[in-house]
Assembly symmetry: C2
Homo-oligomer: 230 residues x 2
Amino acid sequence: MATLFHYPFCPHSRFVRLVLAEMGMEPTLVEERPWERRRDFLVMNPAGTVPVFVEEQGLVVPGPQVVAEYLDETRGLGLDSRRLLPENPAARVEVRRLLDWFHIKFFDDVSNYLVVEKIYKRFMGSEAGGGPPDMSAIRAARANVRYHLRYVGFLAAKRNWLAGADLTYADLAAAAHLSCADYLGDVPWDEDEQAKAWYARIKSRPSFRSLLADRVAGMAPAAHYADLDF
Amino acid sequence: MATLFHYPFCPHSRFVRLVLAEMGMEPTLVEERPWERRRDFLVMNPAGTVPVFVEEQGLVVPGPQVVAEYLDETRGLGLDSRRLLPENPAARVEVRRLLDWFHIKFFDDVSNYLVVEKIYKRFMGSEAGGGPPDMSAIRAARANVRYHLRYVGFLAAKRNWLAGADLTYADLAAAAHLSCADYLGDVPWDEDEQAKAWYARIKSRPSFRSLLADRVAGMAPAAHYADLDF
């Protein structure tokens, strides 16, 4: 059986969990705390980041986009109409552009700040940079998320799903990052009805269930977090 | 003819210039200063980043890794043994892992600091964040580059090229980022003979010539920058 090394509130890990669930794959999930820099984990992935997908035969595939490309190449054709990366080169460009948008830009602007400051720092030792959250980082994330929410709404208004007619990796990436911010109550859904309607649709998919069941020890989610009609 | 919107000292742009040259493509080069946030450029790429590759027929392909995947899908098969992304899934994972390593990790740790502080800020207006360099950022980059140079040396010692037997996108990404730091005199080549020997090989390729001819107005490169036997 394959294995996924992940952290429950790492948005890149959440993306891969959604992808695997949409593909009907159920790997063994191993929680990894990347800030602990566990030696055997660093040997596997010198970058020290989650997620890392490991095939039963031992092939190590690190990073959300590398995993997405790999799974499409090795399992994509068998998914037919449920394939998450389209066939057409121009459509692939659009999906990958949005993967970069969420996994790099949204991450740098919003989700990394929120998750590190509000969650990781609770569990990190002080020698690793743990401690109380930096409020200026949280304020920056809360300002930035409004712009990103409008962009999601803009895309959702003109297309069925974010990259076009069908559900793709782009939707799963956007939803993974937004779901982390949403747990923390930091997504102003009322500012964009289109974005909210798109998120309600994706949140209702069976692939989302395990994410909605995750809890940070000692920190309840926003009241509407697991509510499908928020 | 295709067009590449690039900035000469943006490492992501340099990567795509190297890729295009290795593929024998000669697009029109348009210098774009991303910090000016030119309206027509933002319409083309809402992320506002270079590089952006535009096909003669108008298809817009933004971002170094999206361009690399697109060019491999549309031109890769015709390159035969000069293809820059291997066929085998496990080998593709290794190339893409290293693309992430250099385009995200090396960029965040080293090249973005150096290029922004030493070059971009010379040309940015003060309203856009221009001005004198932040020396603490430069010191961080200079400390981090040593670790990355050792990693390049480690890979170069056990393989012919960084990802395996053949030249791949991974070499071009590593060389693109290192070349920016090298222009600024911030690569301690003497600390790693293997990395230096690998860089001397890649720097001697014809695809590198146009990068070695680039100059920042009013700022000469390090003495060995264009020297193939540095």
